[in-house]
């Protein structure tokens, strides 16, 4: 590339800004370089994650929510975020840095659409969450097994059809029966849903799009952690 910049000559704050720009433009290689440079300078993996990657994805999320960025750009940003995250993940595990949170997400039984849900999964990863994506057509057992295994903070369910969305209530009822409904934040989304539906089936919130999903997840998780002290 002609506009090659020597990042070793830059201020740390400038590199953090550069990461944000590169995430926005979906430049995975550049993001990786910056992450390495910041680590070389002795920044903790957790700080690189929160001040660099997560902060950058927040900007992406806001512009997606406002319709300025669209699915292709957001996907590219999320891929770049993931590239940076791959470097940080083992280090974060080593240092025992605080986790942002874990989410299990899937499309409910009877529904085979998952592009929107995949976008949510990527944006959640972009926000630093660890995401277990169960794919399409998940019945109660699938959800319960995944919850048992991964102990997530958040359960996300998606449906594109009016006819399949009622299954969300079936899953939530099963959570209640198992006595684990209150251990989880349940977020629901998909084209035919709305706030009233979320309330009716006993979910914690309806999320209009991936950006709102991330915002809501963070907000509800913060409230919850505050409550638990």
């Amino acid at each position: 590339m002609s506009d090659e910049i020597d990042i070793t000559q830059m201020e740390t704050s400038e590199i953090l800004e550069l990461i944000q720009d590169d995430l926005y433009d979906g430049l995975a290689d550049e993001v990786e370089k910056s992450v390495h440079e910041l680590l070389n300078r002795g920044m903790t993996p957790h700080d690189v994650l929160t001040q660099g990657l997560v902060a950058g994805m927040e900007v992406v999320g806001v512009d997606f929510r406002d319709g300025i960025l669209f699915v292709p750009e957001v996907l590219m940003a999320a891929k770049s975020m993931k590239a940076g995250m791959e470097i940080l993940r083992p280090l974060l595990a080593e240092t025992g840095a605080p986790q942002v949170g874990t989410m299990v997400i899937g499309t409910v039984k009877g529904d085979i659409h998952d592009i929107g849900k995949n976008l949510v999964a990527m944006m959640m990863e972009g926000a630093g969450f660890s995401v277990i994506n169960l794919g399409i057509n998940n019945d109660v057992t699938n959800f319960l097994n995944a919850i048992e295994e991964h102990k997530p903070d958040i359960l996300g369910m998606s449906a594109l059809l009016t006819t399949t969305m009622p299954y969300m209530e079936v899953v939530i009822e099963a959570l209640k029966e198992q006595g684990i409904r209150d251990h989880l934040i349940v977020l629901v989304g998909g084209a035919p849903l709305n706030d009233a539906f979320a309330e009716e089936v006993g979910a914690d919130a309806y999320c209009r799009d991936a950006a709102v999903g991330v915002e809501t997840a963070k907000k509800l998780l913060a409230i919850r952690r505050e409550k638990l002290g």
């Binding site: 300025i68 699915v71 292709p72 009877g110 085979i112 592009i115 009016t162 006819t163």
Partner: protein, 680 residues
């Protein structure tokens, strides 16, 4: 009832069917004014003086889960003296005069066709194609041996023998409803009768003496529109075409809402079934009357419809069509008695339903194939039926592939800020001057281009109320061609300096297609960033489905494209291609047809061989479940840009804006990498 709660509210929801117009109005608003405000003009000669009785409306009763409201007659102010007198004078029962009613609660109002100031124009008109006339019915004239003492045989046996000896017709049966009158008719005709046979197997009608004339109905049950063509089965001529809105619309505009309603509401299925059957009976009545016949003259019917309409029509619970694996109750064609499904035609009339292909690919699609014959092409043909669910057929005489793509209702005007169905007042065509960014539009019901330049006045009947599918496709393609939006679909900030029509709400742009002075509603009609996004999502689903079928078939280019679907005027092939709804193709070889499904029904009505052909075709095509394909997501993402982020459109080269900036090239490379890597 929760009247106490209702009383506290000061605004209420008003839904107007069949236009689908909705909105909130203040308590006590006059219903005629409320309708006008929401963009529905009601007929009124007396101007609200409760004398002409033209503004009749029907208040629906019950809970409408789709709209989330409970509607009830007592949500309108009770009739007063003037209205009661007027209704008595005009013999109006079961209806209210909108001019005399005040809104006191949520209401769902059905506006009968005769009350609409702008009558419905339905795009479904039978086209003139060459169709072989070889119907399922045949009339034969026979002289039957008279009854006599010593001959113990019944009159039917004597008639059957006459048919065998005079016409070579053996092993015939007689419809049980013909039998009761057989003896009378034989004697009335002095034992000379005209017999109408179905498929040379069954006697459907016996008439005294010599008669001629056999008639049938070809019916397309669409989720939005139901159309019936009355045909002379000897000449093939269409005697009358009648259409009306599908009254099920009030229980949900898209198919899945109908499935939900049918399966979750008690009596839901029965109600939806009754509505469609009643409409078919009304259309049959209107069509036969227009042709100087009666419903009793109709002896054969062919029906096409999507899978959900098909199941509901036959009283089959569509619950399985609402969830994977989308199992059909049956996919074969059916021969039924019209009376068994509640059709009030000739008592012995027959019904044939064309076969279905898969959970989301129905008899309507088989009809489209009969009409457009992709299976007879030597070239690769793409056949797209655009609607809430787009059906895609691709291939040639060697092999045909079919898929359904979940485009959502954006192409029908739903999810679009000022979207509406294709009805009078809807903008159906759009041109934007690339220099001035001023627009010209065509409005359904007004037969000329309308120049929207500021300062020009336009006739009131040309004032638009919203924009329908064909209009939104052209509007967004024109916005792209004139540089208002770029290839990623984003509003160009620079466009704001070029025209006041481009403005920003917060951070996002919108284009004022029609300002408040020129619109029928008094508010501007705008195309927002979100509208552009909704169309991008819909067209990408369609394009991705097409690309998957092309990959399956191993072709990288298409020789011929047919765009079917009735939403406003025919889709403009050029604009559809600029948008990237369809792949690149010689524009001269892209044609838009209207209601090809209905034409398919007519073909099957007139030519019995085509019914066998339809069944063979339905079983021969390969169905592909596109959303399950591993590459669907990548294809979808790559297809979101206008016209596409990777695929080239050489046939549009001279028209497309030069947008190959460095940034976009970069983006293109990235998407290409993304595709190469496969799903994450």
């Amino acid at each position: 009832m929760d009247n106490s709660k209702e009383d506290q509210k000061d605004t209420y929801q008003v839904f107007l069917m069949p236009s689908g117009k909705r909105g909130k109005v203040k308590r006590g608003t006059n219903l005629l004014h409320a309708a006008e405000k929401l963009g529905v003009e009601l007929e009124s000669i007396c101007g609200g003086r409760q004398t002409c009785g033209k503004c009749q409306v029907i208040v629906e009763s019950g809970y409408f889960p789709k709209h989330g409201i409970t509607s009830s007659p007592d949500h309108l102010s009770p009739p007063q003296e003037g209205e009661i007198a007027c209704c008595q004078q005009h013999g109006i029962t079961g209806r209210r005069l909108a001019c005399a009613a005040k809104v006191l609660g949520d209401v769902l109002i059905s506006v009968p066709e005769e009350s609409q100031a702008r009558k419905q124009i339905i795009a479904k008109a039978a086209s003139d194609r060459v169709i072989a006339v070889n119907p399922a019915l045949r009339q034969v004239y026979v002289k039957v041996e008279a009854a006599s003492l010593g001959d113990p045989r019944g009159d039917w046996e004597r008639l059957a023998l006459a048919l065998e000896t005079q016409w070579g017709l053996s092993e015939l049966t007689i419809d049980s409803k013909v039998l009761p009158n057989l003896q009378r008719i034989l004697r009335e005709g002095d034992f000379s009768v005209t017999v109408t046979l179905w498929q040379e197997k069954e006697v459907l009608q016996v008439q005294p003496g010599y008669c001629e004339g056999i008639y049938g109905l070809a019916v397309d049950v669409g989720s939005t529109t139901i159309a019936a063509h009355l045909c002379d089965l000897r000449t093939g001529e269409v005697l009358s075409t009648q259409a009306s809105m599908n009254p099920q619309v009030r229980y949900g505009e898209d198919l899945m809402s109908r499935v939900s309603y049918a399966t979750t509401e008690s009596q839901g299925l029965a109600r939806l079934n009754r509505l469609v059957i009643r409409t078919l009976n009304e259309l049959a009545e209107k069509a036969t009357r227009a042709a100087g016949l009666t419903k009793d003259d109709v002896l054969d019917v062919v029906i096409v419809g999507n899978t959900v309409m098909h199941h509901i029509l036959l009283g089959i619970n569509p619950v399985e069509l609402g969830r994977a694996p989308f199992a059909l109750a049956l996919f074969s064609d059916l021969d039924l008695k019209a009376r068994d499904i509640g059709l009030g035609l000739n008592l012995a009339a027959r019904v044939h339903t064309l076969p279905l292909i898969a959970g989301h690919v129905g008899a309507d699609n088989v009809g489209v194939m009969l009409s457009e014959s992709p299976h007879e092409q030597d070239e690769i043909m793409l056949l797209v039926d655009v609607g809430t669910n787009a059906e895609i057929v691709l291939g040639d005489r060697q092999k045909l592939l079919v898929a359904s793509s979940p485009t959502g209702p954006a192409f029908e005007g739903a999810q679009i800020t000022h979207g509406q169905r294709a009805a009078p007042g809807a903008i159906e065509r759009v041109r934007i001057n690339p220099e001035t960014l001023e627009a010209q539009i065509r409005v359904i019901g007004f037969n000329d281009w309308i120049d929207l330049q500021d300062g020009k006045s336009i006739p009131p009947e040309a004032k638009p109320t919203g924009i329908c599918g064909s209009g939104i496709i052209e509007a967004i393609a024109e916005m792209f061609l004139s540089g208002i939006i770029n290839a990623s679909g984003l509003f160009e900030e620079s466009a704001r300096e070029r025209s006041v029509r481009v403005r920003y709400q917060g951070r996002t742009g919108e284009y004022v297609l029609v300002d408040n002075k020129h619109s029928a509603t008094g508010s501007p009609i705008v195309i927002t960033q979100n509208d552009v996004r909704a169309i991008q999502l819909a067209k990408a689903a369609l394009y991705a489905g097409t690309k998957l079928l092309m990959a399956h078939r191993g072709v990288d280019r298409i020789d011929r494209i047919v765009l079917a679907g009735a939403f406003g005027s025919f889709i403009s092939p050029f604009h559809a291609m600029v948008l990237g709804l369809i792949p690149d193709c010689d524009l001269d070889r892209v044609i838009a047809v209207g209601n090809a499904a209905g034409d398919g029904a007519r073909i099957a009505l007139l030519d019995i061989k085509m019914r066998q052909k339809a069944e063979q075709l339905a079983r021969w095509v390969d169905y592909v479940e596109t959303p399950l394909a591993a590459s669907f997501q990548e294809e979808f993402v790559a297809a979101l840009n206008l016209p596409h982020s990777l695929d080239l459109f050489p046939h549009l080269k001279e028209f497309l804006p030069k947008t190959d900036s460095q940034k976009e090239r970069k983006l293109r490379n990235k998407i290409r990498n993304l595709k190469g890597n496969g799903p994450s």
